[in-house]
Amino acid sequence: MKRPTAALLLAAIVAALALGLWAWLRPRPLVVCADPNNLPFSNRAGEGFENRLAALLGAELHRPVRYVWWAQRRGFVRSTIGGGSCDLWPGVSTGLDRLATSRPYYRSTYMFVTRGDAGLSGLTLDDPRLRRLRLGVQMIGNNGGNTPPAHALSRRGIIANVRGFMLYGDYRTPNPPTAILRAVADRDIDVGLVWGPLAGWYAQHSPVKLRLEPVTPWLDGMQWPMIYEISVGVGKDDPKLLKAINAVLARRRADIARLLQDYGVPQVG
């Protein structure tokens, strides 16, 4: 009865080899770190433009996309990069220290957002009207770290009439960063100084017509830029992936531009 045993053993070896080969050949998933509740950028349902970009990158790189969901609070990159749990972060500021960043795929600006019926066109940071209007700015993190427009206002002594909206807001509501825009639409504030993609997307869907104008001067006091370039971030130890992503971003430039346009992202040249 030795031969059946040998055959069995052989079959087991073949099966193990096949399994190993399959595991080896199977494309590794592209692990994306994203916020589950932060439209227009990303959400768990995959409805944001960063979700769509991740899907495009996965398709081009022939790797299935898998998400690690992480609320994009302060320390998002630090917390998620620490464990080496993600291959990429689809929307980070170009040149961010902790990651290697791709060629930027868009450049946007903070916007003055007002109601279309408020007659508040032509605002700049030096406009005297900003001293009496009710203003809203975005603030980062638990300690209320300041966004560039918040710096720009406070260094002009415009403080009392400014309300801060936490960028990451109340996570029980959908897309918490939109609170500042809702406040403009509801006339709770007159002017919101809001990062372009968020403002542009909200304005597209708002039942109230909103006016969007870039915040100028774009480089306030030579220290606080209102314009930023946005890249795909990858681990610093993964130059091959970075190169592959750069190649896809270049090849699919027209499609990505259309995607951003669909989401109302204000782009600056």
């Binding site: 170009t94 040149g95 450049r107 480089l219 030579m222 830029p225 190169k243």
Partner: protein, 331 residues
Amino acid sequence: MTSAARWVRSLPAAIAALLLASCQAGGRGNDRVFVSNEQANVVHVLDGLSGRIEATLKTGARPRGLALSPDGRTLYVAASNANRIEAWDARSLRHVRDFASGSDPERFALSPDGRTIVAANEDHSAVSFIDVASGRLVREVRVGPQPEGIGISPDGKLVIATSEAASTAHFIDAETGRMLDSILVGSRPREVLFLKGGREAWVSSEQRGTISVFDAGNRRIIRAIDLAAAFPELDTPQAVEMEITRDGRRAFVAMGRGNQVAEIDPVSYRVVRAFATGERTWGISLSPDDHRLYAASGLSGTVTIVDLVDNRVALTVTLGGKPWTTEAAPR
């Protein structure tokens, strides 16, 4: 390991390179090469042809940017951590003067008439204008965070300063200090090169590996030279210091962690060839006759001498420490 220990450790290599160099080349060149070494706190003085180490100048802490007076007689050294720019006699090798430059001077440039030093104060978001005759700091212009590259147009009227952290090129009127424009460029802009009689200004972006080509007249970016596209095999193609030959025909760019120096045709904007250098090549300069190029590589602690007549790497001199940049003066 302390810098001193590293220094001692690299000594035998330096001596070996020196012996080798003297065997190979024999003769003395018509120029001297100054190499700032930000870790060893010295400026090395090499013979341009043989690479022989002729002297070592002890400078203030963290020497980085170098420049020569228009007559080639005075070498200026930015001692960043000593907050001063030192003047050295390029022939006698004597330390002749210090200029209070404002804090943390990194790169700087001399006006074409040699009368003004314009320095980037890296930790202070400012550009300082220093009058050479009186040694006085005559003007400070506020710019974006971490200013680095400084270029002055050949007519002396326009200063371009880059802000590394704001990815910006600032256009400053040299006479009044007025800020004319601030334009976004690729991330981590490092240096400014005027060419074509001042009609064009090139701004290198280390991180993006590109050079933004400006029409200096209307301050518009008219094109980008893309080193990532030109060197698809490189993982980290970068663009740092740039040089152009006196006849304006050959431009060169140090490629940082790309470990090469690329030659660019200023007419077609195409990469013509590349020379292998040491690791992390930031600073380059040309010999006064444009026959040689000297590239400083910080991580390998070397200077590569490139023969631009035969277009080949002539020799590598090991110095240790972290060579930052080079300047060559006629003897």
